[in-house]
Symmetry: C2
Subunit: 439 residues, 2 copies
């Protein structure tokens, strides 16, 4: 078999066999298939698609391209949550401690921010001392002692995905559903999960702005996850505005710690609500609770009793961070001392937000990555005072930018001001969870 | 502009602008665009095509990616012929000396054989001493003194094509019409031509087996050639059996020299007929003759007077070959001393030939290349005694294989025997020129 014969077959719209897909992924992993052959196949898959059988085989081949973590020594159900990426989406930082405190093992392999979206690893690194590059044995030890661990994808985990993911950005093949599904499920599957909830974001701050396409992706993720032996559900959730008030790194961690401490701020409530909802589905899939209602009650108690905060504190300590951040987040998290008001250019109602623009503006001041090797400045960020449906008067505060570089900050003020659409008609609040997809 | 933005646009089926195509081809030439990005665009072009405007811009960008030869010091029209490739297709060796002897300058940039097809450069190298890698100044000198020169594509000529051509074979993007057209016309255009005739082969020994697709390719070649300022015609010609009797290298050169010497063998007549026909179109396009009839008469005279042979002899001498090959081809051309009869397994009529199989069989005994870096053995070959429509009795000779390696030769005997389809019904001779395409 030659790589070009596999490429030709997909180019011509035919279904690839198990043998062909496994041959190709083995070649990607070993390096015997050239990058230019991989990218030609990626483009052929982008344009000609894959059916369910091919999708499942591709995902399994990528899942098994490296080590598969084995936590069978931990006698708990293993579950995780994955998000397709958004702006201000910090739910992982709440979900992991909440669900772990309910007796579920959460081996969370997370990513970095790129483009307009943030990344869990970048956020965690704003906690002084916190280490996200754990070795496999450190990861397992933290899991055993704390119940959850947060780490980046190692070279041994789904290496075929790592190679293909790097090529996709440079070859305009990122948005292909079969490739997105295989990438997500192969990484999660290699982490040895029993259950998984996927938060498929849809809206102006999501990679999928269009609801039918997001639904299609969600169905493919659920079907493929289940076929790979992971009980999987997807929630289609709103990403038409930043989730909560904070966008950045330390500002998002602070918002989470405040929620874990029970300091509920109305603007941060969607973060809490969505975290509880995603966690409740995890508990049901992990067979901890029989119903979502029971799971939600359990999670409310875990939060209000402070057990979720204790779980978070134990994780911070176990991963090298300063646990005092849980008691005095404002003291132990970095924040730029200069702040800039973003004011409303007119009176009216917030009718829409160009959410990706806010993400890009925060990346541009150092809160994210424009290029893959950019350094993150954890101290910069944006806190919004409004959401869709808010009434506002001219010159009122839309939000505040924290940034040490005045010239850059002023550009961000402009961009973010323009990202808020202010109209005359009042506007209903958006539904946070649009749909639950089980199959 | 980023390469992935150009790839994305073609991926989405949009028309690329001049700026985008030129940016991409400049990046291919300079090496600033990675191979994996080039191959992703090639696949997107394969699947989404290009319209006439894009085709013309792509071809011109590739044509100007390196040096464009300038033979303005030679006060003659410049014309060439190109073939899309076949088995036993040796017309270049007749056309160049015939047309040059009619006062046209023929700067012929030729290729090597690959897969089932032979290459003019390989054939010429079976003449002892003949050099095909001329420098630009040597090439021009031979053109000035002899009227025609035969050489390979140098690194300076259409380098973007060279890079893309190498990637296409490994990425299953060879057969895309926009890429075939750009490759052919960019190389020919860089040789500074006024006129060009393209022999588009169709049938069991051609890359295009299917006539409608060959027609589509021919129209695209003619349109693009003309838009690049080269008066261009295409002839759709039959490649359902080897052209003439000889398939190999020295055996094909010998067949040509015999035709140039006026020694007409009935089996070789199609080589002579097709060479005259293609040459006649070149003379008309070069404004040497007003009509095909006049051009054909001129060419018959050039052949029978021995002037074409003299032109050939001058070229052989000028390119370092031994000109005595023109007087005693059997003495000066290498030929394997062992020969093997391919006999007919039954009586009947030749109703079809799996021509590519014959090409592959000869490549396998050393007459061609299975891989791009294989060495050629000029002394091996096949001479057929039959053609489609021939009546034959069981055990009669279908042809003879010349090869020093008995084991390999016997495999070739089997393959070639199986390539001839013998049936009971008589079969009309095939038309050599199926169609002339002017626009």
């Amino acid at each position: 078999m030659r790589p070009q014969d596999v490429i030709r077959k997909k180019r011509d719209g035919a279904q690839l066999s198990r043998e062909e897909i496994v041959f190709f992924i083995d070649g990607v992993t070993s390096g015997s298939i050239a990058d230019y052959q991989i990218s030609a196949l990626l483009m052929a898959i982008y344009l000609n698609g894959m059916n369910d059988a091919e999708q499942e085989i591709l995902t399994e081949a990528m899942l098994h391209s490296g080590n598969v973590l084995d936590f069978s020594s931990i006698a708990k159900p293993k579950a995780d949550k994955h998000s397709t990426g958004g702006v201000g989406d910090k739910t992982s930082l709440l979900i992991a401690p909440m669900v772990a405190a309910c007796g579920v093992c959460v081996p969370m392999i997370s990513g970095r921010g790129l483009g307009h979206t943030g990344g869990t690893l970048d956020k965690l690194e704003s906690i002084p001392g916190y280490r996200v590059n754990l070795s496999a044995s450190e990861f397992e030890k933290v899991l055993q002692t704390v119940g959850y661990a947060m780490s980046g994808q190692t070279a041994e985990l789904a290496p075929a995905d790592k190679k293909m993911y790097a090529l996709r950005d440079a070859t305009a093949t990122v948005e292909a559903i079969p490739l997105i599904v295989a990438s997500i499920i192969s990484k999660k599957g290699a982490a040895g999960l029993d259950a998984m909830v996927i938060d498929v974001k849809v809206g102006s701050g999501a990679f999928m702005r269009d609801e039918p396409r997001a639904q299609k992706l969600a169905h493919a993720l659920v079907k493929t996850g289940n076929s790979c032996g992971i009980r999987t559900r997807a929630l289609l959730t709103d990403m038409n505005q930043p989730l909560g008030r904070a966008v950045g790194n330390s500002v998002e961690v602070k918002e989470c710690i405040q929620l874990l401490r029970g300091e509920v701020d109305e603007g941060a409530r969607p973060v809490r609500d969505l975290s509880i909802e995603l966690s409740a589905h995890m508990l049901v899939l992990a067979h901890v609770d029989d119903s979502l209602a029971a799971a939600r009650d359990r999670l409310q108690n875990i939060l209000s009793s402070g057990k979720a905060l204790e779980s978070f504190r134990a994780n911070v300590a176990a991963q090298g961070g300063d646990p005092r951040v849980c008691d005095e987040p404002a003291k132990f998290l970095p924040l730029a001392t200069e702040s800039f008001k973003v004011e409303s250019p007119r009176s009216g109602f917030v009718t829409g937000v160009k959410t990706a623009e806010i993400g890009h503006a925060i990346a541009a001041i150092g809160g994210g990555r424009v290029r893959i090797d950019d350094e993150i400045d954890p101290s910069v960020g944006f806190i919004t005072d409004v959401k869709i449906g808010s009434h506002i008067n001219v010159h009122d505060r839309l939000g505040t930018i924290y940034c040490g570089d005045e010239a850059k900050a002023k550009e961000a003020v402009q961009t973010i001001q323009a990202a808020y659409e202010i109209g005359d008609e009042s506007f209903n609040e958006l539904l946070l969870v649009k749909e639950v997809i089980n199959e």
